[in-house]
Symmetry: C2
Amino acid sequence: MNNGVQWQLQRINTPELRAVAKVESSLVKGARKYFDAQGFTEVIVPHLTKATGACENVDTLFAVDFFGEQAYLTQTGQLYLESLVPAMGKVYCIGPSFRAEEEADARHLCEFPLLEIEFPGDLNQLMAHIEGTVVSMVKEALAERRQELESVGADAARLEGISAPFKKVRYSDAVKIVGLEFGADLKSAHEAFLAHHFGDKPLFITHYPREIKFFNMRTNAADATLVNSTDLILPFGGEAVGSAEREWDYTILREKLSTSPMLKQLEKRGGSIKDFDWYLDNMREHGSVPHAGCGIGLNRVTQFVLGKQDIRHCTAFPLNCETLL
Amino acid sequence: MNNGVQWQLQRINTPELRAVAKVESSLVKGARKYFDAQGFTEVIVPHLTKATGACENVDTLFAVDFFGEQAYLTQTGQLYLESLVPAMGKVYCIGPSFRAEEEADARHLCEFPLLEIEFPGDLNQLMAHIEGTVVSMVKEALAERRQELESVGADAARLEGISAPFKKVRYSDAVKIVGLEFGADLKSAHEAFLAHHFGDKPLFITHYPREIKFFNMRTNAADATLVNSTDLILPFGGEAVGSAEREWDYTILREKLSTSPMLKQLEKRGGSIKDFDWYLDNMREHGSVPHAGCGIGLNRVTQFVLGKQDIRHCTAFPLNCETLL
């Protein structure tokens, strides 16, 4: 039995694990309350898919032999939700996102719950929904779990100060602040610096370069090098939310996918654009509507709420390459 | 593109799919309402596990290479929930259950949401919780989705007649009614006959033979050939819930596992009892408490609510060997 599993066995009956699990349950409940109040419908999406279940990093897909077909464990339900927006409007899903992260560290898990919404709307409405969701999560934890928060050393006063709107900085300004060139990836140390710089509160970084983001993010009308996207950075948690307006014009979308770094990665793994046939065919045949959406990494929000640097302490059964149970 | 995927593409923008998805969301909401009102805490469990994520049928596990370790997609979160009962009391989880079903048919999916509870208590309390959950699910669908139910031809009057307590029949009596010997498996045709025989309403079949059930079901005190288990049979849906008191004595449990057909199946696949080390070690070191639990297959409840014979029509993205998206 390896160290990670032994560590987990020592935790399993502790008051700390109980407190963390109870806070986590309230965070999910708070998110659902917001989604339900705003008229989102929960949709059950598949978690065993073709490459349409991948986020931008195809290299971290877990492969599964599906009766001779190449399948993967989903990283996101985004494209499945998107396909329902024309018929259903506001939709959400909450379920596991899988990432084959080879390192066991304080920031990454191989499985974590992702809270995802898609809806007819734009970037401003999207940021309002993210603010509303995160505030509702924090509020529910404060309402239901004050004792548990205290017992694990979380700072309730800090959480009470969290309210909408969150601060916003454009990517092009953010890179200047941390001394990077336009086009560079913001690493977690940069994000932590920026969150601190802007007052140790949730911070939106907006309008990322198109090159470094998911293929179907909508290009900015004023500057074609940018996409209408935003990541939410949280103190302790770092990048907790990725989000964007989605391209909804079939021809543009197909072109974007064909030339995306993601597709090149997929082809290296033996995949092809054919995996996207159902998604593209559906859009071509039925059309789409302007829409936007996000994915909220639950454990990153839990880190923020608990004030913990180590994500492994923020859920009952953290899964990394050392803790398979 | 195969027939199953084409069928799905034709459905995706239809009012029927929208209605079904909306009913499904209300069913999940109704279950959560019951769990929350009864003081259950939602727990996030892993879905990529060792054999402790298997139900009794090891042959239908999907295998995943987890950094060189043999992992599986979970069929149940039961053992993970059970490990938290001593510290947390009433717990539940809602998430995907994976089954490598080789046939695409009207009764089976390769992935479906399973609603699972574990709590300190016995078979009678368990049946009351199952009744409460199913009634709350039906009630929520009636409250929120009357129009959608009508639009897909569901019989609201039939649903309004559903209330606790449900009828109960012992397995030993049930096999006599359908003309089988004690020890035989009740097939879906037998279950459908029994549900009809007892008034076309939800029906508990209790006290199954120990031999044909999951290793950790608790042996009946009066008759050691039986376990304190119950399955809930629903009109249209068939077996929708499996449940039992769990063995909580370490020595008995270890013996039961060692001699179980499940372990033999696992060994044939190259696995061993070592996969259960964490579960057994935890119970040996920390002890357990008398507890019970169940797993509710969402889509089988949806079949019952919609009055549909074909499970593929009861969710937005039904996954079988022909419909991988």
